[in-house]
Amino acid sequence: VNSKVTTSTHSHRRLDAATAKPLWLTAFVAALTAEAFRYWRDSRARWVLALGMVLGVVSAWTTTIEVQHTMRERAVAMQAEHSRWLQQGKKYAHSAAHYGVYVWKPVSALSVIHPGIERYVGSTVWLEAHKQNEFIHRPANDAEGATRQMPLSTALLLHVLAPLAMVLLGFEVFAADREKGRLRALRMSGAPMAAIGAGRVVVLWLLGLLLALPAVIALVIVALATSDAQPFEDAAMRSSAMLIVNAVYLALWALVITTVSAIAKTGRMSLALLMALWLLWCVILPRTAVELADESQPLPSAQVFREKLANALGEPHDPVEEARVKAAILAQYGVSDVKDMPVNWAGINLQRGEDRGDKVFDAHYGALFAAFTAQSQFIARAAWLSPTVAVAGVASAAAASDMEHHIHFTQAAEAHRRMIQRKMNDYITANPERNGQRVDADAALWRAIPRFDYRFAALPAAKWWALFLPLLASMAVAGASFVWAMRHLQRESAA
């Protein structure tokens, strides 16, 4: 008898397992379809979606125009500056070093999705002799300031407004069933609650993605129009990361909204909780993180920084060091006076000055960039508390519009400046004065300076993992919470 019972139980389990999958899938599809129709019929949902789409189109349109215009203008400016450098005519190499070149930071099509810090850093820097200049022409300085807090951009739409729209669309997704006593009816349909929940999550996620659609279209338009000009060595990886991270972020919100709606006693409570969460994640924590980052790693004031830099640069040359270098060079050429050397002491001396200046710049800018990096790392830690900070971190890294990429560009521009100075000084060194006259250089030397075509280096896999990890952790927690909430709902509806 026992063996018969055991056999019967096993066969029932096999039967259950065999029917569970189609049932789950059927319930999932049915819930998905029903939910989609519910939104289709709901006038409030239509309003929210219409408003979201209008904002999406406007933000994508304005951002596209701005990014395309900037890319075009910077390409023209870079070419014009390179031509200007090549066509400067015959002149003393040190005069050319002072003439210098301007270089502009490249903008990528991905900044359509996440402009990051671009409006708050200068766009161009002058590479000239003796000085590591600061970036100038910061767009934010020209702004009226009325919308400093929430400037319309695709990033605002995707990371702040789309979740809000999803909250407004989905806060009643289960709470309304509970309030109106429909949970038991759901249970009686025999459909697993998790399948219904998953269907509703997917619909909410798709609605979020719908709001993101204008931004994606804008990205494709800009990417296609400027496919040759993408300043990345890993454009495909970055584009994929940008799309994936935004999709994951919206999926996270869909999960969270459904979970909260499933556990909240009323729709009102669900809306209040979700609004509080939205405020905390999207509005308060991102701001608090940057404020506290400044407290944790204070930056010097511009005046103090510039004064210390100027003082360090202005310190008299070490006469002992100067005499040592001079003596070594005189010994190298076996002469007692620099005038008797086959090379030009002026060039050697100029380069010595540059080397000394480089050390000062490295010390001062190095400390400043280290402080910026420490602040960035502090802000990145807030990604564990706020998915909005996490998605912004990944998106701005993908678009190369974060501080780390800006520092890389700054350092590359400075390296280019130092290369120009070395070539100019090497030329002066190799060409001693003739008949008391300095030897001018010509286009051959100018052509020896390559155009500064900067490309952002590929981000290593470890970096991507570090960026994605907080969001994936949030996703895991949200997923687990969702499963728990669905089980809770299953039990509640059975009670």
Partner: protein, 500 residues
């Protein structure tokens, strides 16, 4: 409103409030907002203190540099052959007008902070509170940004104006979401009507009662916090700043109370009321201001900044190519400074450096005019469009009374420009007179600096930035605030229209 109606309204408000205050959620919500507001005030206060401290350090640097220059000049002219001056080249010598005018002189123009500065950071984190002034050009003033992590600027600041403009309406709407609607949902409205409570009394009593309680609690907490932290000075100016802040806060609160009454008078369910409230909030504080800015950017885009820099380079190239003609033109215009022996083409670049700077500005005038025109058109368009955005009106009002708005900074920069022109005129005169004197009796000293030529001892008589009277004045509250009051009145009027 007669006495009976007033009495009924007060009774309704009192009973409603008693019920509301028994709910723990009410206090959690209000105290959370107050906590965030205190943090925001602390942030504003920290920001202002940092700015004031940086400006003070800048002033010390400038004063020290002047004292050092005077001391170096005295020592130099007392004994120019001292070993320490042997390698002192003219362009680094504060006792030489060429060195002092172009390199060694340090001066900062400081934008005075106002009593209410900590209440709204506004644009003061993007636009510097002090700028270095140099005789040659405005470049150091225009490009002298304060050092901040750009993400801090991009994320937006968590200051008091942010809390009031963005978060306060949400709390207010949450507070009032169930006002009137709860009775409507529970079908108790008819009972109230039978007891003589009219629609108007019901709506005003509950919404205004809740709103005023929350507003007064919040305002008192803000005043207490600013006083305890010393964020606003404890004098008449501080009192005026707080008074102005309260006025703007009251107008903005009135607007949102009007909206709350409108929702309370129309919504049939608490959920709908909350949904409508958040919807109006989203449209008012985010969508409309964002569209406003997008409209300004689209209608009047900024001229190309890249093009600006290329124009500067073109102008420099033109001047370099035209150097001789430029010198001739200059001495034609100023025959009193024309060298007696030296040909204009041979005049030292240092002597013509300010002339060159003036020529460069002349060459850039048309490009600058494009930017000025765009700036003015954007300002005018923005001024018209902002009337459609209560959040923008409130945000601007808070920023204006704090003295941290872009318009005040523009006023500051205009005064700096005036001073820079005076400074340039001063040094141009001294420089040309020195060049003439040096030509008459050429300096034989190894440094090229002689008292009879380019030597300079007038460090203390160089014009200094004296500020601008208008920047010290208490700013007036923007008249656009009336729009908020009008909108509030309109909302209340519509809310009080009885529905069937």
């Amino acid at each position: 409103m007669n006495a009976g109606t007033l009495h009924s309204t007060l009774v309704i408000a009192r009973y409603d409030l008693q019920g509301l205050l028994r709910e723990r959620g009410t206090w959690v919500l209000l105290l959370s907002l107050i906590g965030v507001a205190w943090f925001a005030i602390w942030q504003g206060d920290q920001h202002q203190r940092t700015q004031v401290a940086a400006a003070a350090t800048a002033k010390v640097q400038a004063d020290t540099a002047t004292q050092n220059a005077v001391a170096v000049a005295q020592a130099f002219f007392a004994d120019p052959d001292a070993p320490k001056f042997r390698d002192l080249r003219a362009f680094r010598n504060p006792a030489d007008i060429r060195g002092y005018a172009f390199r060694e002189r340090v001066e900062f123009a400081i934008k005075p902070s106002l009593a209410g500065g900590a209440l709204a950071i506004g644009q003061s984190d993007v636009l510097p509170s002090y700028v270095r002034v140099q005789a040659e050009s405005m470049d150091s003033a225009k490009n002298g940004n304060e050092i901040e992590h750009p993400l801090r600027l991009a994320a937006g600041r968590l200051d008091l104006s942010f809390v009031v403009v963005y978060l306060w309406p949400l709390v207010l709407l949450s507070f009032t979401a169930s006002a009137v609607v709860a009775e409507r949902e529970d079908r108790r409205v008819l009972t109230l009507r039978l007891q003589g409570v009219t629609h108007g009394v019901h709506v005003v009593g509950q919404v205004a009662g809740r709103g005023l309680f929350a507003a007064c609690t919040f305002a008192v907490s803000v005043i207490a916090c600013t006083s305890l932290m010393g964020a606003v000075p404890g004098n008449a100016l501080g009192a005026v700043a707080l008074g102005q802040w309260l006025l703007v806060f009251a107008a903005y609160t009135a607007f949102w109370l009007g909206i709350a009454m409108l929702i309370a008078s129309r919504a049939s369910q608490r959920g709908s009321a909350l949904f409508a409230g958040f919807g109006v909030w989203l449209a008012t504080v985010i969508v409309v201001p964002a569209l406003l800015t997008a409209a300004v950017d689209t209608v009047v885009p900024w001229p190309s900044r890249e093009g600006y820099q290329l124009a500067v380079r073109d102008a420099v190239d033109r001047i370099n190519a035209d150097r001789v003609a430029m010198a001739e033109r200059f001495y034609d215009q100023h025959p009193e400074w024309r060298p007696k022996i030296t040909a204009p083409a041979k005049v030292s670049p240092a002597v013509l450096r300010l002339t060159r700077a003036i020529e460069l500005e002349r060459g850039m005038a048309s490009v600058e005019a494009q930017f000025d025109a765009a700036r003015e058109q954007r300002r005018a368009l923005h001024a018209r469009l902002r009337l459609a955005s209560p959040a923008t009106i409130a945000h601007e009002a808070f920023t204006v009374i704090a003295g941290n708005d872009a318009a005040r900074h523009a006023q500051f920069m205009a005064s700096v420009r005036g001073h820079q022109l005076a400074l340039r005129a001063y040094f141009q005169t001294r420089l040309q007179q020195s060049a003439l004197a040096d030509e008459q009796s050429p300096c034989k000293h190894v440094t090229g600096t002689c008292a009879s030529g380019f030597g300079f001892t007038g460090h203390l008589s160089v014009p200094r930035y004296a500020g601008h009277a208008a920047l010290q004045e208490v700013p007036a509250i923007p008249p656009t605030l009336f729009v908020l009051v009008l909108l509030a009145a309109l909302s209340v009027f519509v809310a009080l229209i009885r529905r069937k």
